[in-house]
Amino acid sequence: MRLPDMRLRLSIARSSIFAAGLVAVAGPLLYSNGRAQQPQAGKPAPPASTEKAKYLGADACQLCHETGPRGRFKDDFVRLTEYKTWKTDKHSQAYAKLNEARSKQIGMLLKIADVTKDDRCLNCHAANVPLDLRVGTEGQAYRLEDGVSCDACHGPSSLWLTPHFTEPGWRTKPTAEKQKLGFYDVRDPVERSQLCLSCHVGSMADGKVVTHDMYAAGHPPLPSIEVATFSDSMPRHWRYMKEKGPKIWAAFHYDPKKELEQTRLTVLSGVVALRVAANLLASQARKGRQESGWPEFAQLDCYACHHDLKVESWRLKRGYMGMPGRPQMRSWPLELVKLGIRLAGEEPTRVKQAEDALTMAFSAQPFGDPEKIAAAASDLSAWSQRLTQRLGARQYDQPAARKLLRELCAIAQEGVLDYDSARQVTWAFKIIYSELEPKARDKEVRSILKSLDTELKLELPSGTDKSILGELTQGLKTINHYDPYRFRALIEELSRQLPQD
């Protein structure tokens, strides 16, 4: 075992050197007197501290978060293998993708001089923060090459790196205190969803917008996203509270019987998705009819136009929300929000009005009336914000899970869902069902879920060993062959297997 031993020593030596450097870099920062940086809109509240929270890069985390539990951190709270897992997560390759042939093709067609340097690409493919917030020189600490790295999601770590492993009681420290240091509370389902969706749906304020010309030039389509499902497929590098064991539960006053975390995440992220999508839509529409303003086709339902025309067409059979032939927004963010409405006992007419206003705005003329779209989308966003607050306050327990599963089936049977919406509903079902106890007719349910997987290709190209482009052909085939009436029949079958209390 000489070789591993050697490697370990080398690694420790490298780590020590790096740690020394880190203290030298980060230390003065703790006491420097810079002004707090304006946060980006998709990100959580700004650190209230007067120091600038800066980005240290993934190397700073690798020191502790790679090789597993040791020392006083040897408990169920943290895995300490996060870095290693992240290395198998596509997020770590987000920047590297920009060097691949497809990215070059996109750049060439869009006349982008260098896609590895252009903000339109970097804002999602790396932690593309201002230069003065990057600590260290290239190759040492902060690196664009880290892609979507630790501090992209956990927050710039210069102010909290040291306290988060030295300060007693850090774990249970109030979130607001941690946020002051630049720490993002990704355990909070709303914050986490906002963070994920700022790229996976988009955010104008952050400059994270995939436009139609990017798609046309070859960018793979952004799929609909159910945050709990996507989190699991990253692959997930953390434990949920329910997996952390009784000791930690006690410290956090957590009762796994009363709190179904992933169910909560699914319900809340469904509502956040609508807000993020509506915000993006509103800010795009507000630009009006100037160049690169409205219409921006990427804001419309891709598959409303992009489908081979079939003689037997389910779209013709289904009919249209507004005027036929006038594409609407992507409808999937409107689907899971219904779950939140039903759980909160929200009056459905309120959201119906907002949705109808949006439908009418899109129907007023081809590509819609941008002013009316902006107004209706803002209204929908404000409404979903209030719903998020109501839903955050409530309990997610077994009776709630049972109700949610029934409601999901009802939602799926009431409408004629497009592919993205169908996938959202089914993903949500799978997450909530995984937390349901007891599972009375598990065998039957699993068998139907398997059929749904065939119909919808629920499995995501998870991790670095699977490629999005590699699976794209099959994925698009699945979309093109999707039939909402087949989906509905499967859901009907599924609903018959559920407990009816």
């Binding site: 081979d308 079939k310 013709l316 009919g319 036929p324 032939g325 052909t473």
Partner: protein, 484 residues
């Protein structure tokens, strides 16, 4: 050249799908606001008001066994009604409104709920093309079917030949033949022998006008797209007549193709102008931009992860922009090159400018209307030259260019390739005809190969399986078409 032969037969089979997808009844709805007035066979404007009030007498007034209801073969003199009634889809234009698809279309278009029954057979919008000339109806006037429910004749004789109120009892008298076309027109009979007039007449429904418009709203509701190509439609229609005089010459297929291209472009530009005008009027609720103006299949294709589209199409236009006028204008500049005139030179530039305007996500309707008008003016000034027969040298030069690399690089989509095919066939027919040669078996086989590449897959209304590169390769094999 209308004698059924191998090629026209194949041609028909190919065109069946075009017609099915483009079937919209012929109708004659008063004279167009004719910028081509003064051209042979086109009525002067002071006739318009008079003609617009003439009544139709209905198909039954023509269908006496002694007159047009004979029992001869297709196209036999005296059996015109018989041919129309038994073979021609125009006679079923009204009945088709009772089909399930027609009901679905209207249900979607009017967004009816489950309790409301759609009645396309009573809907003015549908009847304007599907039953335009019922007894007692003023051509272009309100339909009587909606009230009586008795219209069964579809697109009848008078849709094309003109309302017969003032000429029915005169047109079989001995002195009728003495009358000039203009005199006949004054009584309401249309000069269908004149190819230009004939093409304009078809275009009224098959391309559309401001009043009879198949726009994208209607297409999205389920109505087939209109993609009219005059010479192909003419060859495909079971003709109930024999061409005579100039029309019986060997160059007829080429002439009908060239005339059809120019007339169609003019009609399409008129429609574009009307659409742009209505876009400026907030009260019309008309769609703008009007997607039916664009290449359907630029958007309507299953998304696939192949880079063929990106590589082949986007050299010519910005990724994600949408291409205008791919059906009606692709080959027009080629004809203009072959029939030079001062106005002809401006056509290609005007079209390019329109293309650039229309490619914007929200085209400026005022600029579009003005440019569409200006382009029509160029066409009008060019008309005299444009409608003259092509001549063997010209048509063979076109034929050779259409099967040559340079011109082919301008057509990268299904619309363009289909127009190319629809041009090559009549040009080849005419070329062989003028040389007194029979159609070559190998060439026919090549053309059949080209056609099969353009055909939609079973169950599809779009060319999901079409690859421009494959089409071009196949076209290479047609080089032998070029006259030696």
């Amino acid at each position: 050249m209308l004698q059924p032969n191998n090629l026209t037969e194949r041609f028909r089979r190919f065109l069946a799908f075009l017609v099915v997808s483009g079937l919209c009844a012929f109708i004659w709805h008063g004279w167009p606001r004719s910028p081509l007035a003064g051209q042979p066979g086109v009525a002067s404007s002071n006739n318009s008001a008079q003609l617009a009030n003439l009544q139709c007498l209905g198909v039954s007034s023509c269908a006496s066994t002694a007159c047009h209801y004979g029992s001869g073969a297709q196209g036999a003199k005296g059996s015109e009604y018989t041919t129309w009634a038994t073979l021609d889809k125009h006679s079923r234009a009204y009945n088709v409104l009772f089909d399930e698809l027609s009901r679905t279309i209207l249900r979607n278009y009017k967004r009816l709920n489950a309790a409301e029954a759609p009645h396309p057979e009573r809907e003015a919008l549908c009847l304007r093309c599907h039953a335009p000339d019922q007894p007692g109806q003023v051509l272009g006037g309100p339909s009587l079917i909606a009230q009586t429910g008795s219209g069964l004749d579809g697109v009848g004789c008078e849709s094309c030949h003109g309302p017969a109120e003032r000429w029915r009892t005169a047109h079989y008298l001995p002195d009728w033949r003495e009358k000039s076309a203009t005199e006949k027109e004054a009584l309401g009979m249309r000069p269908t022998k004149d190819l230009v007039a004939r093409a304009k007449l078809c275009a009224e429904c098959h391309i559309g006008t401001a009043q009879r418009e198949v726009n994208h709203d209607l297409i999205a509701a389920g109505h087939p797209r209109l993609n009219f190509e005059f010479s192909a439609y003419l060859a495909n229609m079971p003709s109930h007549w024999c061409e005579q005089g100039e029309n019986a010459r060997a160059d007829f297929p080429a002439r009908s193709w060239a005339v059809g291209q120019v007339v169609s472009a003019h009609a399409a530009l008129e429609l574009l102008e009307a659409r742009a005008h209505s876009a400026r009027d907030a009260n019309t609720q008309k769609a703008w931009p009007e997607f039916a103006e664009y290449d359907c299949f630029a958007c309507h294709h299953d998304l696939r992860d192949d880079t063929e589209r990106q590589n082949s199409v986007f050299g010519k236009r910005a990724p994600g922009s949408y291409p205008w006028g791919t059906w009606y204008y692709t080959l027009l500049p080629e004809i203009a090159r072959e029939k030079p005139a001062p106005a002809a030179a401006k056509i290609a530039d005007s079209l390019k400018e329109l293309q650039a305007l229309m490619a914007r996500p929200y085209p400026d309707p005022v600029a579009v209307a003005n440019l569409a008008r200006a382009t029509q003016d160029h066409l009008d000034q060019w008309a005299k030259t444009a409608y003259a027969p092509l001549g063997r040298a010209s048509l063979e030069s076109l034929l050779s260019r259409f099967s040559h690399d340079r011109s082919r690089s301008t057509v990268a989509d299904w619309d363009g390739c289909t127009q190319l095919y629809l041009a090559i066939v009549p040009l080849y027919q005419a070329s062989q005809g003028l040389r007194g040669l029979p159609e070559n078996r190998d060439v026919l086989a090549e053309l059949a190969g080209l056609r099969s590449l353009l055909q939609f897959g079973a169950g599809f209304n779009s060319p999901g399986n079409f690859h421009p590169q494959v089409f071009r390769k196949e076209l290479d094999r047609l080089q032998k078409l070029a006259p030696q």
